[in-house]
């Protein structure tokens, strides 16, 4: 992951947390930015595979349909 990408996520996260209005420790912020950036990258490939038919409700429906009696 490029450094500038993580840095830009850090800015976004810092802005959000500033809006929340609580004091945030530097390592808290760094950890939050690194986590968000990593998960953003990892989630990209799933976004590409999803179709409009995929929804959170579909998961519940599959659990019910597949349930072994």
């Amino acid at each position: 992951m490029p450094d500038d990408f993580e840095a830009s996520v850090r800015d976004v996260v810092a802005m959000r947390l500033a809006r929340v209005g609580r004091e945030v420790l530097p390592d808290e912020l760094d950890g939050a930015a690194a986590e968000a950036a990593l998960l953003f990258v990892q989630s990209m490939r799933f976004s590409d595979e999803l179709t409009p038919a995929d929804s959170p409700a579909e998961f519940v429906s599959i659990v019910k349909r597949a349930a072994v009696s």
Binding site: G31, E35, L38, L39, S43, E58, S61
Partner: protein
């Protein structure tokens, strides 16, 4: 020879209570005494001797009934459940919220069945953790080696059941929290299918992943507690005559595997084959990707649950909890929504790729053995962070997919630490999990071992 009272199974105990060979008061007092003697395990947050003995006295007066399968059986539960007269403490110092949760219907079912509640059990702060540490109430000691971690977050549940301080316990499992401590403490830990047990009245960690789980010392006891907790018919545990097709994952489950765990896994396969089960290799879907999706859901939902409280009362949170929750505040909304949308897609893929070919999947529950607390005291160290996050690597996928899974004790390491195996099944197939588990439990029972620090 009859086992000491605290080492009996729920079925054995119930038979003795039903014959009136024992009173509910005797059993309750015995366990309360043990809990006091074994305080160093730090399994309980509070003991309720008066309340438990008053209830036992009332049960003794009423007498046992066939429709109350847990009559006079002392249990204790993770402090995440609301009772009619008490809100959950969640392992933190103060009453942290003015929100009132309704009483847990699952606890009410156990109560209705005649169980006795000994008091709330220790856990990781807000159920955020996989080791057994708690900065406020102290770490829970593993009854097999008190210097070592129990696994978490249902740390008190696993330690109390393993040490014979309770005959069973409710825990919660969002990614590891019943199965990992069950494995490290040598007890059976079930995470049922998503939504199988009503989570009303349970303080959430991440509501789309949270499952109410059950811990007990035997497979049959675990099945009994599960049946009672869901308010359904009590079905006797399957017999060993059930022949199952058991899958071994063709990848992803050997990363970082401890040599003793790998050896136990191979022995478990042989034990299952010797009992007539068919064991086959089976393809599995992307484990690491599912772990990422799981983290997106867990962190975002935890951040949402704690958003206001953390702003108002940051001092009520440890730095580790603040870091975890803040991580969720930074995740993008579209990533959260897509992680929810991908859940159905991944489940469909897992059912077609893996579970269409087998009855259950067999993996180790954890890749390694329980660490010493002094080895994991500093989570800012990269090697510690890696080893702690590795604890949930084999258990998170079933949570993301909403599949039922059980950890069953199988063997002891050369250092005398329990090693558990995990079975995962399609939705609703808890019976298959119990059937498969019996094959490994027979081996564990044959070892005839008991935790040395709870003798």
């Amino acid at each position: 020879m009859i086992a000491p009272l605290h080492r009996q199974t729920i079925y054995e105990l119930s038979a003795a209570l039903g014959r009136r060979d024992l009173s509910a008061q005797t059993v309750t007092q015995t366990l309360l005494d043990r809990a006091s003697t074994l305080r160093r395990l730090n399994a309980f947050i509070e003991l309720w001797p008066e309340r438990a003995l008053t209830r036992a006295e009332r049960l003794d007066k009423e007498g046992p009934r066939n429709d109350r399968p847990l009559w006079g059986v002392p249990l204790a539960h993770k402090d995440m459940f609301a009772r009619p007269d008490r809100q959950p403490g969640c392992g933190v110092a103060s009453e942290f919220t003015e929100a009132r949760l309704p009483p847990s219907p699952v606890l009410a079912e156990l109560d209705q069945a005649g169980a006795i509640d000994l008091g709330p059990l220790n856990l990781a702060e807000f159920a955020l953790g996989t080791t057994g540490t708690n900065a406020v109430f102290g770490n829970v000691a593993n009854p097999w080696d008190v210097a070592r971690c129990t696994g978490a977050s249902s740390s008190g549940s696993a330690a109390a059941v393993a040490a014979g301080l309770a005959f069973g316990s409710l825990g919660t499992d969002t990614g590891a929290s019943v199965r990992v401590p069950a494995s490290f403490c040598g007890v059976v830990g079930l995470m049922p299918t998503a939504g199988a047990l009503d989570a009303t009245g349970c303080f959430p960690l991440a509501w789309s992943l949270d499952a109410i789980g059950v811990l007990a010392r035997t497979v049959a006891d675990c099945a009994l507690l599960f049946d009672v907790a869901r308010g359904g018919e009590v079905i006797p545990s399957a017999t060993s005559s059930s022949r199952l097709t058991i899958g071994l994952p063709d990848r992803y489950y050997t990363d970082g595997l401890d040599a003793e765990v790998a050896s136990a896994w191979a022995d478990a396969v042989r034990a299952l084959e010797a009992r007539g089960h068919k064991v086959v290799d089976v393809p599995v879907i992307e484990r690491e990707e599912m772990r990422s999706l799981h983290r997106i859901l867990m962190r975002t939902e935890a951040a949402a649950v704690h958003h206001r409280l953390l702003r108002q009362r940051p001092g009520d949170y440890s730095l580790a909890a603040r870091k975890f929750i803040t991580g969720g505040e930074g995740i993008f909304a579209v990533d959260y929504v897509n992680a929810m949308r991908a859940r159905g897609m991944m489940l469909r893929r897992a059912l077609e790729t893996t579970y269409a070919k087998i009855d259950v999947l067999l993996t180790p529950t954890v890749a390694g053995l329980p660490a010493r607390y002094d080895e994991i005291a500093d989570p800012s160290r990269p090697d510690v962070w890696r080893s702690v996050t590795r604890l949930a690597q084999f258990t998170q996928p079933a949570s993301y997919l909403g599949l039922p899974a059980v950890s069953v004790p199988f063997s002891l390491s050369s250092g005398g630490l329990p090693i558990g195996m995990q079975f995962i099944a399609p939705p609703g197939a808890e019976r298959r999990l119990f059937s498969a588990s019996l094959g490994l439990e027979a081996h564990w029972k044959g070892l005839n071992v008991w935790p040395p620090f709870a003798a």
